[in-house]
């Protein structure tokens, strides 16, 4: 099909929607994003590789060429380009060239998940076979048999694994001696997933890996690949601890793309999910191959079912948890064009090769710009035109974008955050490292974490020896350090004497208090007892049709003010605080209705974290009070809206932040709004908010101002995690305060 035809077809489909029976002006915006011509570059290549590329009809894009040259030059390289731009090939070529040259050379490829490493194995195997090398790539993870593991360590020259596995293999490094000794490359794929708590843990894991590899004389180069992020160089340096060459100018080109903003709230009588399935079957029936991203496994199943019922063609669901064979069939069907429509979780966002599609539907803002562009990037075959739909949910950030499409398109990709200074994370990895090899004085881990080290020695867990600091406890440290977790205060969930799962204390208060309904992998359990002394919750399996929701109140105390800045008559502060959460009662809910409220008897949760807080001049408040406005409701509304907008500025989830607002705080003696990192020790999110406070206040103001509701709604100031049942909230007061606070900028922009 030629370009014009494809463009017409896409445009016809979008315009055609307007004529359908379920159209109620949901299209808020259609933005045409121009295509770009691909740019190619010639590179000197080994004959084998050149023939391989020619045979497969591949020309190298400029970014691939640059990556190859930088790696050959011995540099550590981070490749940060969009999905489907050929990143895997870009690092496979220099690695394989080296493997051809040096028969002992080894490479370790680390993927964020097991599923991804399995997916990638296929393409690496293919390349190995075609090149006739004996690289014999193998996946080494929890599913690998003991015999196969030995064989892989002995002879596979490309080993694929994941961080969870690596975390447990490192203490057994003597078995990996030959791998590590000859390790020339460590490839970390999809590194943008290594951010926040998970990423900070991975940064320590990478440092542990480095010291063990170096111990055996290996000195590998690092090659990182990432979706487009704002700070690839800084991020990679934090993740690995080295300087990186950044390759981020994408040469792969793209076709024209129509970006459609779809607001289901315009048609109140039809649910968001029904509208999504209508769109999916409509596109498929119009001859367009369409992929719909959903927020949950359950929605992937439901939307595919509903749209399949109303479409002439087969529409399938795809998610993690399917058998590999079932997934392969769908992937291949998508690639070859036989499968016309799929509803999927974000499992299809990365890695897996499914070719380019005509249309992508995103049911709900995926949470970050990075994910949004990754998902939208699944649409577009070569230089053909394509379309991406953002279907908004009824929550503040989604609705903000519907009302401010310019804000969406002018927004750059987020900064990925990694925090190397959180003691909660550092302390666990110090233990792991000391159980892998004695910690010497001149190491980064030692120098950067002197205080943690001293405390562990004082507690008699680590021991100073003539050979360095060694571990002497009973359990393997890797057992108690979880890469997804930050807290050391862990509660075990026990079902009939068996361990069902673990969670930190705060989560246990929310989900595993006495009589709570605990959900785990689709099953419901009722908590019999939460024993905080033994740190165990006992549960029984019960089929119930209600759920529970605790309510908490939060106190916050300022421990240390680190920085203050003044903006007009507004004071913004950054510092360390102590948060106390009081869980006093819980609601029993059925179909979103409260059927009872029961008291809870739990000691408060106290933790220290980072916070940014704003104090508002008393005069401002006095003026409003004279007009009889509800100050508390106003501050509370601003707090909620700020938390909702924080993910626009710093890469995080609204659940990563907590907030407190009060008319008169003991420590400041002023009306104050606090935002704090919901993790013990802080993880750098509110620090980012502090740096971007003007922007944050501005978008918060826009969010509330441009929401159509009169007195506040879930699209602006209601919070799903409010401990006070969203009371009091006052939209008008919030607007009046924010207007005063952002006045200066408004003048500038208008």
């Amino acid at each position: 099909m030629n370009k014009v035809q494809q463009t017409d077809k896409i445009m016809d489909a979008i315009e055609g929607v307007r004529g359908s029976g379920w159209y109620r002006e949901q299209i808020e915006e259609i933005r045409e994003l121009p295509g770009e011509e691909p740019e190619f570059e010639e590179v000197e290549l080994k004959d084998e590789i050149r023939e391989y590329l020619d045979r497969n009809g591949i020309d190298l894009y400029t970014h691939q060429a640059r990556c190859i040259e930088e790696v050959r030059g011995g540099k550590d390289v981070v490749l940060s380009t969009p999905t489907a731009s050929g990143k895997t090939l870009a690092f496979n070529i220099p690695v394989f060239e080296d493997l051809i040259e040096d028969k002992d050379a080894r490479a370790l490829y680390i993927y964020p998940t097991k599923a991804l490493s399995n997916d990638q194995l296929e393409s690496i195997k293919e390349m190995d076979d075609e090149l006739g090398l004996d690289v014999d790539p193998g996946v080494y993870d929890g599913d690998t048999s003991r015999g196969a593991k030995r064989k892989i360590r002995e002879s596979s020259r490309v080993i694929l694994t994941n961080p969870y596995g690596l975390h447990h293999y490192l203490p057994w490094h003597n078995k990996w001696k030959n791998v590590f000794k000859n390790l020339e490359y460590i490839v970390l794929d999809e590194v943008h997933q290594y951010r926040g708590v998970f990423g900070s843990n991975i940064a320590f894991l990478v440092r542990r890996l480095k010291r063990v590899v170096e111990h055996y004389g290996g000195s590998p180069q690092f090659i990182l690949s990432s979706a487009t992020i704002a700070n690839p160089g800084e991020f990679s340096k934090k993740l690995v601890g080295r300087d990186f060459e950044v390759v981020s100018r994408d040469g792969s080109g793209s076709g024209k793309k129509y970006f459609v903003f779809w607001n289901p709230l315009e048609y109140e009588d039809q649910s968001i999910h029904v509208q999504t399935s209508n769109l999916l079957s409509y596109m498929v029936d119009g001859g367009l191959q369409t992929l719909c991203f959903t927020v949950s496994r359950k929605m992937a199943e439901l939307i595919s079912k509903w749209s399949d019922e109303s479409s002439d063609k087969k529409i399938m669901a795809y998610r993690a948890g399917y058998k590999p064979r079932e997934r392969r069939i769908i992937e291949q069907g998508l690639r070859e064009g036989e499968v016309r429509g799929v509803a999927s979780t974000n499992a299809l966002e990365v890695g897996v090769d499914i070719g380019g599609l005509d249309v992508v539907l995103m049911s709900g803002y995926p949470g970050t710009m990075i994910s949004t562009w990754q998902q939208a990037g699944r649409a577009g075959r070569g230089n053909d035109a394509s379309a991406a739909f953002l279907i908004a949910f009824e929550n503040p950030l989604d609705q903000y974008y519907m009302n401010h499409p310019d804000r969406f398109f002018e927004k750059s990709h987020e900064h990925a955050i990694i925090d190397l200074d959180n003691s909660n994370i550092a302390i666990g990895h110090l233990l792991c490292a000391a159980s892998e090899l004695p910690l010497k004085e001149n190491e980064w881990l030692t120098q950067n974490n002197q205080e943690e080290l001293n405390h562990l020695k004082n507690e008699d867990i680590l021991h100073e020896t003539p050979n360095g600091v060694v571990y002497g406890g009973e359990k393997r440290p890797a057992e108690i350090v979880e890469l997804n977790n930050i807290s050391q205060d862990i509660i075990k969930i026990i079902l009939n004497g068996k361990l069902l799962g673990t969670m930190d204390r705060a989560q246990a208060y929310r989900e595993a208090h006495e009589n709570a309904v605990y959900m785990h992998q689709g099953e419901t359990y009722v908590v019999q007892e939460l024993d905080l002394d033994d740190k165990v919750a006992y549960v029984k399996k019960r089929e119930v049709d209600y759920y529970t929701e605790p309510q908490s109140q939060t106190d916050i105390k300022i421990n240390e003010k680190q920085e203050t800045k003044t903006h007009k008559n507004l004071k913004i502060n950054l510092g360390n605080v102590e948060v106390s959460e009081f869980y006093l009662k819980y609601k029993i809910m059925e179909n979103d209705k409260v059927i009872a409220t029961e008291p809870l008897d739990l000691p408060p949760i106290n933790f220290k974290t980072e916070s940014t807080w704003i104090t508002i001049p008393k005069e401002t408040i006095r003026e409003l009070e004279e007009k009889d406005m509800d100050i508390e409701g106003g501050l509370h509304a601003i707090e909620h809206a700020m938390i909702a907008m924080a993910p626009y500025h710093a890469m995080c989830d609204r659940w990563d932040l907590g907030g407190v607002s009060t008319k008169n705080h003991t420590d400041t003696q002023k009306p104050t709004i606090f935002l704090y990192d919901a993790y013990e020790g802080g993880i750098g999110i509110t620090e980012k908010c502090y740096q971007l406070i003007n922007e944050l206040l501005q978008t918060t103001y826009e969010l509330i101002k441009d929401c159509d509701c009169e007195n506040g709604c879930p699209s602006c100031i209601y919070s799903p995690k409010c401990g006070n049942d969203n009371e009091p909230l006052d939209k008008q007061t919030a607007l009046t305060i924010l207007k005063k606070l952002t006045k200066n900028q408004n003048k500038k922009t208008t």
Partner: protein, 349 residues
């Protein structure tokens, strides 16, 4: 939480989750489980020993000496025990009558060949089809050294095959080192005691290398390694999956490339095969009680060893070490007897 509190709460979580059960059957399945009665008895024993040996000197109590070897200090105990390792010699012909050691020959092929009158691999060397491979195999046994013969057997036989036991007869008494270790855990923790029996003619030279503290582990490992490196074969109970890899990991932890790559006879697999049907479990204690009729007086369950060692460290009291050292010594003596017993069973078969 400040860093001090963090370290404290980490320490708590690093303690072993001891699952206490009431039923002995259940306890024997996994070693992290301990029977309630045993746990109480063990703690009572520990407290009694702490009282009894308060202020005593470790060297005097055990008759051991503090040795410094350039790597640090450790306690070393050496004694000679009257006991002889039963090692009836075995001729290579006993092994060669198993034609299945030749690549390509399975059970039915062996039967056919035997019916045709080929009783030994040696007789097979001129066979039209199998001669070449038989010669290759034979060469490994005749001129390749003990290890090379054992390799052939390992390739074709399961680790509990009686042929291994038979093969142990090729080794002299003085070739063996009997090994058993006590550790702080099953993974990345230090070893605390290494017991080594070196059989001689008519007696066993018995060594124990005990850690003075965690910071002196390498010293104990080094002296132990020097003692065992010349022995051609290691005799253990479950040492293939535990003791040997554990020690090798500790060597590499300190950056030493020492290895224990001697021939290895792990009696665990043979015992399971020989007594499997008669015993409730395959723990060494059970086998020694049921098969060898040995009763231990004071003993510490293996899973409690770390707790006892911790008490020794924290209270600076040698008392809790007594049952650990005895336990370890008894394990080694039991292994010695067990080898004889297993070989007798073999003859009976």
């Amino acid at each position: 939480m400040d860093i001090g509190d963090l370290a404290e709460s980490i320490k708590e979580r690093l303690g072993v989750d001891r699952e206490v059960v009431d039923d002995e059957e259940e306890a024997s399945i996994r070693s992290s489980k301990v029977v309630r009665g045993d746990l109480c008895d063990a703690r009572e024993l520990r407290d009694r020993l702490v009282d009894e040996y308060c202020g005593c000197d470790l060297e005097e109590v055990f008759g051991c000496s503090l040795v410094e070897n350039g790597y640090g200090e450790f306690f070393h105990k050496e004694e000679v025990v009257d006991s002889c390792l039963c090692c009836p010699s075995c001729s290579v012909e006993d092994v060669l009558c198993d034609l299945k050691l030749v690549y390509g020959i399975g059970v039915s092929r062996e039967r056919e060949l035997k019916e045709e009158g080929y009783e030994s691999i040696r007789e097979l060397i001129d066979h039209d089809r199998w001669g070449g491979r038989a010669r290759e195999t034979l060469e490994k046994f005749d001129s390749g050294g003990l290890d090379s013969g054992l390799d052939v057997i390992s390739r074709w036989k399961s680790s509990s095959d009686p042929l291994f036991l038979k093969y142990s007869g090729f080794y002299d008494v003085g070739d063996f080192g009997i090994l058993d270790i006590e550790t702080m855990g099953l993974g990345a923790q230090p070893v605390i005691l290494i017991g080594l029996g070196l059989p001689m003619d008519g007696c066993i030279e018995f060594h124990q290398f005990l850690l003075k503290d965690f910071d002196q582990e390498l010293a104990a490992l080094k002296s132990f390694y020097d003692k065992i490196r010349d022995r051609k074969a290691v005799l253990t109970f479950n040492g293939k999956s535990f003791d040997v890899p554990f020690l090798e990991r500790r060597f590499s932890f300190y950056g030493e490339d020492w290895s224990l790559d001697q021939s290895h006879f792990d009696l665990y697999h043979f015992s399971k095969r020989a007594f499997g049907d008669e015993l409730p479990n395959y723990k060494l204690n059970t086998i020694e009680r049921e098969v060898l009729g040995i009763e231990r007086d004071i003993d510490v369950p293996s899973s409690m060893v770390p707790e006892f060692y911790k008490t020794y460290r924290e209270e600076d009291n040698p008392g809790p070490l007594i049952p650990i050292l005895r336990h370890n010594k008894q394990d080694i003596l039991t292994l010695n007897s067990l080898l004889s017993e297993l070989k007798e069973e073999l003859v009976d078969e």
